[in-house]
């Protein structure tokens, strides 16, 4: 591991809701002050602030992180915004890590906020600019197309059907029933419930998709000498990785996320992980769509290519399975406020490794976990490995 040791020492979040009355700043403040309270710190203990928030166009606010900064405790401090689209929620704590690992700062706040509900009639309107303005947008694309095209390519490559994939949505929505911040938790949902939802862009059905959500999450990250003083349960950052694939998405192999594999290799190398299937005890891969959890588990090399669906069907990824995956309930269950959703996953690993996940706690005292997110032009992978 390069650099000084860095631990996550505190976390807080807001409930994820379809539309929050609170403004973006108010949501950010609620999450931030709870994160500070969780480790008995005040803003005076904070040396720098990292803010993660996705497109300015969601809020139609120029320099959205600067607008948010007072809710994030940023006034009078060094502040930076990292923005890698959907990958932001895992990239922000990576930035937090190198702020501290470099020796420049002792303690930083990492705050991710998203308020998707302001964009009318649908936040997709702000997302459509992901398509090339000259070669694609004249075809009047729908954002769902990218996911539907990728999901179909994945299903076709490995001969999967919808039942193989919808088990992920069932698992995550059930897991989310135990998450106090969840928007779509449902302890009784069944495979048939998911398979019977309306078709949006085949093979994507309503039940395969995470919801439009508002919410915020905050972490406190500290250097070792501070971490040991403020908590007896620091959760160490052991490895980080991120990488981009080509922006020409129609030229990529849509059935395999090579950008996730490359990010994972970087993080595993830093963490000294040579056998991820033995050494990773709990995983929070990015699941904005159910097939993406499976896709990403394969990219993370936790399952062979095309094998994650079978493992999911066999219960391996259940909370009490051999490799608990998205015990939080993930984006499909807790909700998907873009940047905040990724940081929620990192917070879940923090709580799980400390044994503080309550009804969601996975058995067997996991010692090492990872969180991963995906975004940009659908071609960034961001991975963080944490351990106790």
């Amino acid at each position: 591991m390069s650099g000084n040791r860095v631990a996550v020492v505190g976390a807080g979040m807001t409930k994820f809701v379809r539309r929050a009355q609170e403004t973006a700043k108010e949501l950010a403040w609620e999450a931030t002050h709870l994160a500070l309270e969780s480790c008995d710190m005040t803003l005076d203990d904070i040396d720098a602030v990292i803010i993660g928030t996705a497109p300015d166009a969601f809020d139609a606010v120029h320099m959205k992180s600067e607008y948010l900064s007072d809710g994030c405790g940023g006034w009078g401090k060094p502040v930076i915004r990292g923005y890698v689209g959907g990958g932001t929620g895992v990239f922000a704590p990576i930035q937090g890590w190198y702020h501290v690992a470099s020796g420049l700062f002792d303690t930083v706040l990492v705050v991710c906020e998203e308020k998707m509900s302001s964009c009318q009639p649908h936040p997709q309107g702000a997302f459509l600019t992901i398509f090339d303005h000259t070669t694609e947008r004249p075809l009047e694309p729908n954002l769902l197309w990218i996911f539907a095209l990728e999901m179909n390519a994945y299903m076709n490559r490995y001969g999967l059907d919808k039942r193989d994939i919808a088990t992920v949505a069932v698992k995550n929505k059930r897991n989310a029933a135990d998450h106090p911040a969840a928007l779509l938790g449902d302890a009784n949902i069944t495979l048939e419930d998911i398979l019977n939802t309306e078709v949006l862009a085949w093979p994507v059905q309503r039940g395969d998709v995470s919801p439009v959500t508002d919410g915020a999450v905050a972490l406190v990250m500290s250097a070792e000498h501070v971490a040991r003083r403020v908590t007896n349960k620091p959760v160490w950052v052991e490895g980080v990785g991120w990488t981009l694939d080509t922006a020409y998405w129609t030229n990529r192999d849509l059935s395999y996320p090579v950008y996730v594999e490359e990010a994972a290799r970087m993080a595993y190398k830093m963490a000294g992980i040579t056998e991820p299937r033995q050494q990773i005890h709990i995983a929070e891969p990015y699941d904005p769509f159910d097939y993406k959890e499976l896709h990403h588990l394969e990219g993370l090399m936790l399952f062979d290519k095309g094998e994650a669906p079978r493992a999911a069907a066999d219960g391996v990824t259940q909370r009490d399975g051999d490799l608990p995956v998205c015990p939080s309930g993930g984006l499909l269950g807790v909700g998907n406020p873009i940047a905040a959703a990724g940081l929620m996953k990192v917070a879940e690993i923090f709580w799980q490794l400390r044994g503080e996940a309550g009804a969601r706690q996975v058995p067997g005292s996991p010692k090492r976990g990872l969180a991963q997110a995906w975004g940009d032009l659908m071609q960034v992978g961001t991975v963080i490995v944490m351990g106790v």
Partner: protein, 166 residues
């Protein structure tokens, strides 16, 4: 961790319809004119002439579509234009029953990624399929561009009206 979750106030549609909450709206008037650039400019000229055009990388020997003046893999200038076929094979497709703002449509749109003949393997472009039963579309199916009449072509990706099965 429950004590570190703030209970956000969940607003419903009726809160807005019934005037229970105060809010402000904005309808931006933002217009853009994008320069096509060197590679895509030539691509659009080709489309106007009823021809798909790619670009060759001398380093990795790939023929790239959409064309580009540099290869992002080799980070070298590409060296020549390559006239491609207007036929290809479906890499992946969808049947879409909603508009971007989630209004349902009856006849599905069929977007697809189509690997273009004459370009390197895996070199696809996004376009639409038509003149086909949506339930009959298969990955690997051979398709051909249906061009708009020459007089109606303007130098845009929509000069190809859609692709149809061969």
């Amino acid at each position: 961790m429950k004590e570190y979750v703030y209970d956000s106030v969940y607003l419903r549609s009726k809160d807005f319809e019934e005037g229970n909450v105060l809010f402000e709206t904005w309808d931006p008037n933002a217009r853009y004119a994008w320069d096509a650039g060197v590679a895509i400019g030539r691509y659009l000229q080709g489309l106007k002439a009823g021809q798909l055009i790619g670009r060759h990388c001398p380093e990795c020997d790939r023929v790239l579509i959409p064309p580009r003046m540099f290869c992002e893999t080799c980070f070298r200038p590409t060296d020549r234009w390559v006239e491609l076929e207007d036929t290809g094979a479906i890499i992946t497709f969808s049947r879409c029953y909603v508009t971007w703002d989630m209004i349902r449509i009856t006849d599905p749109q069929i977007p697809a990624v189509i690997e273009i003949d004459g370009a390197s393997p895996g070199m696809g472009i996004m376009h639409m399929l038509s003149e086909v039963d949506p339930d009959e579309v298969q990955i690997g199916m051979r398709v051909q561009a249906v061009w708009k009449p020459a007089a109606e072509r303007i130098g845009a990706i929509t000069d190809i009206a859609y692709f149809k099965p061969l």
